[in-house]
């Protein structure tokens, strides 16, 4: 919150509602806190390295546009010490090892941990294959003597490309699996409160005469442990903030109580934000390494973007106008009656 306040020039906010004006616009600042529990769902993964050093990982996980393919590629490449281009992630097939799927901001932590363990098991098999090679200096020595990095195996003084090593030692390829149990059943989960946090900031303008509300700036400051991919993480938060804006100012399912149908059941009448509705958005990650969460120290991220974004806007509207609206969306008809006193 302090970081966000500093970046958002929170000191410009006047605590008295309706006291900051620009011509016929009332300007207000608002903020809200965001919190999400950090869940881990039971998940499993299989991983295979072939004679060419190519790695294929399989999970029945989903990628609903959040970047799962990408972060799992990073996790596997990082764990195995091979380039990203050597990794193929195959998802979305129910014949593959069972995962928790997407939902509750738990996909990356659940599937990622299972894949990490599968890769660690595979790495142990590669290392064992090195050590059992007759004539290798690493034989009978500790695991520390064998490293895999940048797509090469180093044992003792010798370095060999992983593909060459695989062709020579295990041309049939090597397979491994890994899994993670549901977080709720672990000691670490029972002993520690595990959450990710955020602070949302909003600046809005409200037209004195029409009551039209425009969001001008939004900022999210996010603490979700270690960020697995700075780009896809930022995109997720930007998307969440945009939906928070939509919920706060536009989106509403209107029910016809006579016939029980939704009146505005298409995107022509159910309003969602378009480009000109979405103002200057900014996202800041405050990285932390939560060693209780999972092996990466990464925590659920996806829903922090929407959690609190709408509330910050509603608070900004109150700060601008003195009108406290308790029901989303904040449409102009809800603020207009209260504007008469403040917007003379």
């Amino acid at each position: 919150m302090q970081e966000g306040a500093r970046r958002f020039s929170w000191e410009r906010r006047r605590s008295e509602p309706g006291s900051l004006r620009e011509g016929r616009k009332l300007v207000g600042f608002g903020m809200a806190a965001a919190i999400r529990p950090n869940y881990i769902g039971a998940a499993a993964a299989s991983v295979r390295i072939d004679a060419e050093g190519r790695v294929t990982a399989r999970l029945d996980m989903t990628d609903i546009g959040t970047g799962t393919y990408t972060i799992l590629t990073q996790i596997a490449a990082d764990a195995l010490g091979v380039p990203l281009a050597a990794i193929t992630i195959e998802l979305g097939d129910s014949r593959y090892p069972l995962t928790a799927g997407s939902g509750g901001s738990w996909g990356a932590a659940s599937a990622g941990t299972a894949l990490l363990r599968a890769c660690e098991a595979l790495k142990r098999k590669i290392v064992n294959a090195v050590r059992t090679q007759p004539g290798t200096p690493a034989q009978n020595s500790g695991t520390d003597d064998v490293t895999i990095a940048a797509g090469a195996v180093r044992f003792g003084e010798r370095t060999e490309a992983l593909a060459e090593f695989m062709r020579r030692v295990a041309p049939q390829g090597l397979d491994a699996t890994g899994s993670v149990e549901a977080g709720a059943s672990t000691e670490s989960y029972r002993a520690f409160s595990q959450h990710s946090y955020g602070a949302h900031f909003a600046e809005v303008s409200v037209d004195c005469d029409t009551g039209e509300i425009r969001a001008r700036r939004l900022l999210a400051v996010i603490g979700a442990g270690r960020i697995l991919n700075a780009k896809t993480a930022r995109s997720q938060i930007l998307g969440g903030m945009t939906w928070g804006l939509g919920a706060a100012l536009m989106e509403e399912s209107v029910l016809d109580r006579r016939y029980g149908c939704f009146v505005n059941h298409d995107l022509a009448e159910y309003h969602v934000p378009v480009n000109s509705d979405v103002p200057d958005l900014d996202v800041v990650f405050i990285e932390e390494n939560d060693d209780k969460a999972n092996p990466f120290g990464a925590k659920g991220l996806g829903e922090l973007g929407v959690c609190g974004a709408g509330a910050a806007i509603a608070n900004a509207v109150y700060n601008a106008t003195g009108v406290r609206v308790r029901e989303f969306p904040l449409t102009l008809d809800k603020v207009l009656p209260g504007l008469a006193t403040v917007a003379l």
């Binding site: 490449a77 990203l84 780009k231």
Partner: protein, 76 residues
């Protein structure tokens, strides 16, 4: 983000956290990504259509399928 940060390499530290471009980006923007619908496996799919009843309250005594089943490749 700098080119350096996006470079696909394992040299110089962890790959975790880097702003790597989406690995599925190229197939998606070129329209070559495979959707579940496009994965052909097993026998041809059967397609169904929900037909609403014309009577709001009643009991189903019989479903007349004879006419429909005369069409080629209609399954019952």
């Amino acid at each position: 983000m700098t080119d350096k940060a996006q470079r696909h390499t394992t040299s110089g530290g962890s790959l975790i956290g880097r702003p790597v471009d989406r690995v599925d980006g190229p197939v998606k923007v070129t329209g070559t990504a495979t959707y579940a619908y496009e994965v052909a496996e097993g026998p041809p799919s059967a397609f169904g259509f929900v037909l609403g009843a014309g009577i709001a309250k009643g009991r189903i005594l019989e479903i007349e399928t004879g006419l429909g089943c005369r069409f080629r490749r209609v399954t019952s």
